[in-house]
């Protein structure tokens, strides 16, 4: 009996280990530099606030036509009917527009949070949502540092709504709808590494025009969507308190300790049980 129990526990311990180690073993490459993610570079100095991207996005994704327009003092937000939004801000350099959407993090919190792998960082770079897997727990929304995923609260078959960088179009060799339809070339699509080089070049060539910061190069451990701006990013309502390292790293320590506990605990508990067994005379009235 005792041996059987031990074996049983050992098997459980191993199961715990494989459950927890599964991911780290075939995890995504740790640094952005090793992978060739595609991304989008948005240059706020070029954006004219025409909302072409909003209309193109709505059309391409079967969403209702955008309402409202960029207006200083009004912060429109993405929601379950719009995946991208352009807002206007009154800044130290006059009126500046800013487009918002999913950042397509290199190591996305939403992907790490998702217990069904419905949220998924593709090899190409876009972070996509897969309805056949999602159970609607909304943990991705809790975890995303940019508050991007939205939920259809008023549907019996709710979906998570967020920008997917037009992943389907990319697979067909097309650019994302917003990039394709931007008349001011404020959006460009390409390999993330090339985009960063291009952004640096613009900063170096026109140091007066830009702040020396590519938002998304290091934010949240690096994102596939990159921003250039004429003014500091806090003036444009971007989350500048966001940490520079990846968000999934925050719960790694806990997840790594799981296999250890799974092996140590049962052994320890059984040991204590054996050690204390004879300390207390067993009351004959008790069963077990």
């Amino acid at each position: 009996m005792k041996i059987e129990r031990r074996n049983f526990l050992r098997i459980l311990g191993v199961t715990g280990v494989s459950l927890a180690l599964n991911k780290p073993l075939n995890a995504k490459p740790e640094t952005a530099e090793d992978v060739e993610f595609y991304g989008i570079l948005y240059d706020a100095t070029r954006c004219v606030g025409c909302q072409s991207c909003e209309y193109a996005c709505a059309e391409s994704n079967g969403l209702p036509e955008p309402t409202g327009m960029p207006e200083v003092g009004i912060v429109r937000k993405t929601d379950e009917t719009r995946r991208t939004i352009v807002n206007a801000y009154d800044t130290s350099k006059g009126e500046v527009y800013l487009k918002r959407q999913c950042m397509h993090c290199n190591q996305p919190a939403c992907d790490a949070a998702c217990l069904t792998q419905a949220m998924h960082k593709t090899e190409e770079g876009p972070v996509i949502w897969r309805g056949d897997k999602c159970m609607g727990c909304r943990y991705c929304m809790v975890s995303c540092p940019f508050d991007v995923p939205k939920f259809e609260y008023h549907s019996a078959n709710p979906k998570i709504i967020k920008c997917d960088m037009c992943h389907d179009r990319l697979l067909e060799g097309q650019k994302p709808a917003c990039v394709e339809n931007c008349p001011a070339e404020a959006l460009i699509f390409g390999k993330r590494r090339d985009l960063i080089a291009e952004a640096r070049k613009r900063i170096v060539e026109n140091p007066d025009m830009y702040v020396d910061h590519i938002y998304g190069e290091h934010e949240a451990g690096g994102t596939s969507f990159l921003y250039l701006s004429p003014v500091p990013f806090e003036e444009l309502g971007l989350n500048t308190k966001v940490q520079k390292s990846s968000y999934p790293a925050l719960s790694k320590g806990f997840l790594y300790s799981v296999p250890t506990i799974f092996v140590l605990w049962p052994t320890l508990l059984l040991g204590i049980h054996e050690a204390t067994k004879n300390n207390h005379p067993i009351n004959p009235e008790e069963n077990e």
């Binding site: 009996m1 129990r5 526990l9 459980l12 459950l19 927890a20 599964n22 991911k23 995890a27 937000k77 929601d79 379950e80 992907d111 790490a112 949070a113 998702c114 217990l115 792998q117 419905a118 056949d132 897997k133 999602c134 159970m135 609607g136 727990c137 943990y139 929304m141 809790v142 975890s143 540092p145 508050d147 939920f151 259809e152 609260y153 008023h154 019996a156 709710p158 966001v242 968000y247 999934p248 925050l250 719960s251 806990f254 997840l255 799981v258 506990i261 605990w265 049962p266 508990l269 059984l270 204590i272 049980h273 204390t276 300390n279 207390h280 067993i282 009351n283 008790e286 069963n287 077990e288």
Partner: protein, 410 residues
């Protein structure tokens, strides 16, 4: 085997098949128009109507959840707080089966039953909160393992722990049905189930805290630290035990006739023992909180509204009941112990809600406050749980002594 035991079995099943026996037991026992029934039945019915509405018109039709605050009362209270209170089961089984503290043996069964029902119902409440519950099997049958997710771990542990608790409780079911052979086999599995259960509990009690680790920028810094998992684990010890004290006192009154003489006598001594353990665990917790606070260097935050709220929690709902527990343990003051346990329970509710709801997006323009319908559904779940609990207590030898064949056979 001796004669008396034979007779008892005969009496319980009296020539009927097990199924006939179970069917018969399903009928209500006891009075129907008790105050509890009169209050709970309408709320349960209301809750069921609301649940139907929720499945037809979506979660937003009865909750106040927003795009910024996607988890509200159902997760923050039902699941996160409820599971902390259910922690009593692993602590008590640890004391009895691992440390061999036989004094507490008489409360094992009822605590495990409570824990088991809590998990069943809170996991059930979790299903209500899932937007696409038909996909809930995805992380279980293995076509989509999100193994890097803390929620994946927690979900699995809930499931496994429920099984472990069912095994721990199963000998009592066998006693009820008069199944001697099954009783013997199931009792033999208890230790393994206990060890497995404690391991799982350690991980998912802390895991519930770890869920919020990635929400670093969203939780008020006074409640966020990388040590949330440790805090959740340590506090689940005294949360669970306070619930055992509180719930035990109520059961003691309500089910007085079912409790065996021996257990009645042991009751006060058990409560006193638990009070000492609570005081110790709370001391450790309080100390850890101070360490984390000093480490976090949040001194300036103390002089804000949230800071006062934090101090209220720490002093009024941790330090105060800690002192009360210790003092009343020394003075052998049972009433004061019960009061301390109630303050502790309130403190745990406050703490869990501070992390999950109140301190979550504390800086957002619009705050989330649960709708009356969310509260009604929560009460509905709670009342159904109490109904099931009462049903079991009235039928199975949980508080009462097991049938004589169990003890005689030993």
């Amino acid at each position: 085997m001796n004669n008396t035991s034979e007779i008892t079995v005969e009496k319980t099943t009296a020539g009927k098949t097990t199924w006939q026996f179970i069917l018969e037991e399903l009928k209500p026992k006891g009075k129907i128009f008790t105050p509890f029934n009169i209050i709970s039945v309408p709320i349960i019915l209301l809750g069921i109507v609301l649940i139907v509405i929720r499945f037809i018109y979506g979660i937003g039709s009865i909750t106040n959840l927003t795009q910024e605050v996607p988890w509200g009362l159902w997760i923050g209270f039902d699941v996160v707080t409820g599971v902390a209170f259910a922690g009593g089961a692993y602590v008590i089984t640890f004391m009895v089966y691992i440390l061999n503290m036989h004094k507490y043996h008489s409360i094992v069964k009822v605590t495990v039953l409570n824990g088991f029902l809590a998990y069943v119902f809170y996991a059930g409440a979790l299903l209500l909160d899932l937007g696409r519950p038909w996909n809930v099997i995805n992380p279980i049958i293995g076509n989509s393992f999100g193994t890097s997710s803390v929620l994946f771990l927690v979900a699995w542990h809930f499931l496994l722990y429920m099984m472990a608790q069912l095994i721990e409780f199963s000998p009592t079911i066998a006693e009820w049905l008069g199944k001697k052979r099954a009783h013997k086999i199931l009792s033999g599995m208890t230790l393994a189930a206990v060890i497995f259960g404690i391991t799982l509990s350690t991980l998912h009690q802390s895991g519930l805290g770890a869920l919020y680790l990635m929400a670093k920028d969203k939780i008020h810094p006074l409640w966020y630290s990388e040590f949330i998992p440790v805090m959740f684990f340590v506090s689940s010890i005294f949360a669970g035990l306070s619930m055992v004290i509180f719930e035990g006192s109520i059961s003691h009154k309500v089910f007085f006739h079912q409790i065996s003489e021996k257990n009645k006598k042991a009751h006060n001594s058990i409560i006193r023992g638990l009070s000492k353990i609570c005081a110790g665990a709370m001391f450790a917790y309080f100390f850890l909180q101070i360490l984390v606070f000093v480490h976090g260097k949040h001194w300036t935050l103390l002089n804000t509204g949230m800071g006062y709220w934090y101090l209220t929690e720490m002093i009024g709902f941790v330090a105060l009941p800690m002192v009360l527990f210790y003092y009343s343990y020394r003075r052998n003051n049972i009433l004061l112990i019960k009061i301390a346990s109630i303050i502790t329970i309130l403190g745990i509710i406050i703490n869990r809600l501070n992390v999950t709801v109140i301190g979550f997006r504390w800086d957002a323009a619009s705050h989330y406050f649960p709708s009356w319908m969310e509260i009604a559904v929560t009460l509905c779940v709670l009342f159904i749980e109490i109904w099931v609990f009462r049903w079991v207590i009235r039928r199975m030898p949980v508080l009462s002594d097991p049938p004589s064949w169990v003890t005689k056979n030993k």
